[in-house]
């Protein structure tokens, strides 16, 4: 079939600008994007730089943006992207990292974050006489995170990292979960405190699902980040606005059956965080005024009317919570 590639090129030895180059080639129907790129390099243009090794979605070295999404080129069939023969496929290097040449990025951004989460077990107490023994269940829970092949696709497309270089980013946070979830590690609380309080930690994820979407190994980094948050709350790491936000949200729904988003803000930043609240006041008033919302209903708790079936909602809450308590005993 005809395959039309539109590849973003960058040569560090030229003037430093990027350009798109078109390659129109013939490939077998079942080719992957990587097959097509290798064909270009072998037979059309030897200057095209790309990185690959296993060609079977194991080594993680061929991640790049195909059709504006980070993917493994060796795991993506041409026909996954185009429905009509001859339709153009845009190929770019990963985002959020400097480009070395063409489709090859410098992944130091990613590795530095992996180092930041201390990616090895730190057992405490005297070592056992023989090997450490862990239950199957405990390992099953971290197995999903262990599947990560460090391809960097999620790092490339994480929108928070785009605007904040300090964000630890999805892959390294999934890695962190691999250790906080491992019963052999003795520094769980320390880890969770670091991950909660450090700049760019677990509470900075916006839950946008981008990493879940692009990960070729179903690591679901965002879900790991949510598990880390849950662990942090359970471990009593409680100074954080994110934790208060969750509590305030849940309480509002228990009280009314629905969310009272106006109270969410002050409760989340903390009722006594006066400077921060003052900073927000103009924004809050702007909104209340332009929407002509009744200010007093939002100032007085319980002024909102609960839904008719509120007693059932409360029952559901109390049951779920008492079960949770039982469970943690």
């Amino acid at each position: 079939m005809k395959v039309n590639l539109n590849v973003k090129r960058f040569d560090p030895e030229s003037d430093g600008s990027t350009r798109f180059q078109q390659y129109d080639i013939d490939m077998p129907e079942n080719s992957t994007v990587l097959d097509a790129l290798i064909h270009v390099r072998e037979y059309v243009d030897a200057t095209l730089a790309l990185r690959c090794s296993c060609r079977s979605a194991i080594c993680g070295s061929c991640a790049m943006r195909v059709d504006h999404r980070a993917r493994l080129a060796c795991k993506t069939k041409v026909t996954d992207i185009v429905s009509d023969e001859g339709q153009e496929i845009t190929i770019e290097p990963m985002g959020n990292m400097p480009v070395i040449k063409d489709l090859i990025t410098d992944m130091e951004v990613h590795w530095s974050k992996v180092r930041q989460v201390v990616p090895y077990l730190r057992p405490t107490g005297p070592p056992p006489e023989r090997e450490y023994i862990v239950s199957n269940e405990a390992m099953l829970d971290v197995a999903g995170a262990v599947n990560c092949i460090q391809c960097g696709a999620c790092v490339s497309d994480c929108p928070v990292l785009e605007i904040d270089k300090s964000f630890i980013a999805p892959a390294a946070l999934a890695k962190a979960y691999r250790f906080t979830g491992d019963p052999r590690d003795g520094t769980k609380k320390e880890r969770l405190e670091m991950l909660s309080n450090v700049e760019g930690g677990i509470w900075d994820c916006t839950r946008c699902n981008m990493c879940v979407e692009v990960c070729p190994k179903d690591v679901r980094p965002m879900d790991r980040i949510m598990q880390l948050r849950e662990q942090a709350v359970a471990a009593g790491v409680k100074t954080n606005t994110g934790v208060r936000h969750g509590t305030s949200f849940a309480n509002s729904v228990r009280r009314l059956g629905r969310l009272d988003e106006m109270r969410l803000f002050p409760e989340s930043v903390g009722m006594f965080a006066v400077p921060r609240l003052l900073k927000e006041l103009p924004g809050a008033f702007r909104m209340l005024w332009s929407k002509r919302l009744m200010m007093w209903t939002h100032a007085i708790p319980f002024a909102h009317k609960p839904i008719p079936g509120i007693k059932h909602v409360r029952r559901i809450y109390d049951q779920a919570r008492s079960e949770k308590k039982e469970h943690s005993k």
Partner: protein, 296 residues
């Protein structure tokens, strides 16, 4: 066409203009809505983050209410859609889990049976109502209005639970609807990214930088306004826009229009009734363009 209508919390709280415009627009399109007055908050993903089991029961309760009404469920919020699809996938797949959840609903005489159809209004328009029929209802072609689509994360991702296999164009419906009413869909960087709302309380700077950056990128592509099916995105993009402009140090002033408002304008509803005057970022520039089209 009749649906069990889940308005979500925000349209009944901070975004009353969404609720009003949805009611008026649906009526004029001939889509009947029976509101689920007794429905509860979906938890917006926040409850499931800390108490997943609880979130499942709360959402199953809503599903069962819709089923009791004997209708498909329609929502008007990308976040509601995402949470509902996520919970439904789990309930439909796992019988044991479902039985456990249903046991908690039984006391209220409710039960969830797999297979409820849950659709965001945007999906309903394209898949059930049809763009051709929509075009017939347009009395005010929005020619010349340049709209940037803004989807909201949860109606796009994770795609595996959002019916994208069956409906591969769900990530393009907003553009299709914008074009169907005669306006132009503007392509820009941020259209499928995150508005930043979920971290507004926790990291204001990052949250507003995201909102501001997307608005700016649409503006740079010549958008007159953004159109969104998500009221939570609306909160960050509209109500917070002046603050976002400060954070990214750029002038913005881009009106953010709820999807039903855009339709309402096109099918000839009075902008006042659509509460176009109740936005933080004034919508006059949009109205000027739209009304000029009528006279021309």
């Amino acid at each position: 066409m009749k649906y069990a209508f889940w308005p979500g919390c925000v349209s009944k709280g901070a975004c009353p203009e969404l609720y009003d415009s949805m009611i008026l627009t649906s009526a004029k399109l001939g889509i009947e809505l029976e509101e689920m007055y007794d429905g509860n908050c979906t938890g917006a993903g926040v409850i499931s983050e800390h108490e997943p089991e609880l979130a499942d029961v709360l959402n199953a309760r809503n599903f069962a209410i819709a089923q009791k009404m004997g209708l498909d469920l329609v929502n008007i919020c990308s976040t509601c859609q995402g949470v509902q699809s996520m919970v439904q996938e789990k309930l439909d797949r796992d019988e044991e889990h479902r039985a456990k959840i249903n046991a908690q609903l039984a006391e209220e005489g409710l039960e969830y049976k797999p297979g409820l159809v849950i659709k965001n209004f945007m999906w309903v328009l394209v898949e059930d109502y049809g763009l051709d029929k929509l075009k017939e209802k347009v009395v005010r072609q929005l020619d010349g209005l340049r709209c940037g689509p803004f989807y909201g994360c949860y109606i796009l991702r994770p795609s595996r639970i959002l019916g994208m296999e069956e409906h591969p164009e769900r990530d393009n419906y907003l553009e299709q609807i914008i074009e169907a009413v005669g306006a132009t869909a503007v392509d820009y960087e941020g259209k499928d990214k995150c508005c930043g709302f979920p971290i507004l309380t926790n990291n204001r700077k990052n949250s507003l930088t995201q909102a501001g950056t997307h608005i700016a990128s649409a503006k740079d592509q010549g958008a007159d306004c953004l159109v969104t099916p998500c009221p939570l995105c609306h909160l960050n993009l509209d109500a917070q826009q002046p603050s976002a402009a400060e954070v990214i140090q750029r002038e913005l002033g881009v009106p953010i229009i709820h999807l039903p408002q855009l339709l309402g304008l096109a099918i000839g509803i009075d902008p006042k009734l659509l509460r176009m005057n109740r936005h933080v970022v004034g919508t006059q520039a949009v109205l000027d363009k739209v009304l000029a089209t009528v006279e021309a």
